[in-house]
Symmetry: C2
């Protein structure tokens, strides 16, 4: 396998978003790294689809099922992990209408069963990434009658994820903290 | 909601397979009961589908993705749970060609990450249900050069699940044992 890097004038590798990868793709690439190195087993959940017509292996009529839950789930150190990934172009806050009610409900259900749930947010224009733990997300929504979560809340109350090369978003070590506290 | 029961001559409720529910449907119904009672959160994984053509919300050409993993996953008491459900009409053994290589590989990956994986088998003509824990399944496959797992192995080395009314298969209590031992 060959990997091509962008380098700056000193031949230092540039970790640039210019590659144009979506947050979901970056998490998926990180998950492949975790899987291949037996660190964690986290998958993108397939999109739920309602199949109407199907001949042999070809589906000719189907619809997206509206009741999807979150983007990723899997196992890390025996614990159940659930992640919803969202990007925003907004530079000062994360608009809560990005998250559907049934996704919030799902995160609450994960928490009730002592699983570890996270909202993984990319502020794309800032190139900053945050993992907001589920309890904190639910608490914010219930205690604040706001339509968005300010960036300052992410800076103070969530965990920032630095971009790296391999894996692109090395988020798993953040989860250790929550395993110890639960 | 009304529920209709089959009763015998003494008006005792008959738990009959005649309702024709598949094993998958019975597990799903049990999972709804667990979810509504905050006992566990276990979902059927959506079937992975490769979408080729799609206009608005209507998918007009798609194919089943061959690399599916297992049937169910979720969280119970914080732990990651993974279940593959299989029915067999065979009365003396469970044919191993029912399980795909990538499903075995997935179960091994779950185990490596300290998750709890199970093969949930229904011997349909016997109306008997067994949950075989992942380590035992993998050990059997590696140590025996056999094309099937005999019923006697399930009776000796797995956990039998009794049918009940609500939930139809109350399998979750079996998992407690493996949580304690891991």
């Amino acid at each position: 396998m060959k990997i091509t890097f962008d380098v700056d004038e000193n031949n230092n590798i540039v970790h640039s978003k210019n590659r144009g990868m979506s947050l979901e793709a970056e998490i998926t690439e990180s998950n492949i790294f975790y899987r291949e190195n037996n660190i964690a087993l986290i998958y993108k959940k397939p999109t739920p689809i309602r199949i109407v017509k199907c001949s042999n292996s070809k589906i000719t009529e189907a619809y997206f099922d509206e009741k999807s839950t979150t983007d990723f789930n899997g196992v890390y150190k025996g614990r159940y992990i659930d992640i919803e990934a969202k990007e925003t172009n907004n530079e000062t806050s994360f608009p809560l209408n990005n998250i559907e009610d049934n996704q919030i409900e799902h995160i609450e259900n994960v928490i009730k069963n002592n699983g570890l749930a996270f909202l993984f947010v990319e502020f794309t224009s800032l190139e900053r990434y945050f993992m907001l733990e589920g309890h904190k997300l639910i608490k914010f929504i219930k205690e604040n009658n706001r339509k968005s979560i300010p960036l300052s809340f992410f800076i103070e109350s969530s965990d920032e994820v630095e971009r790296s090369l391999i894996p692109p978003l090395d988020y798993i070590k953040i989860i250790d903290k929550y395993i110890k506290n639960s």
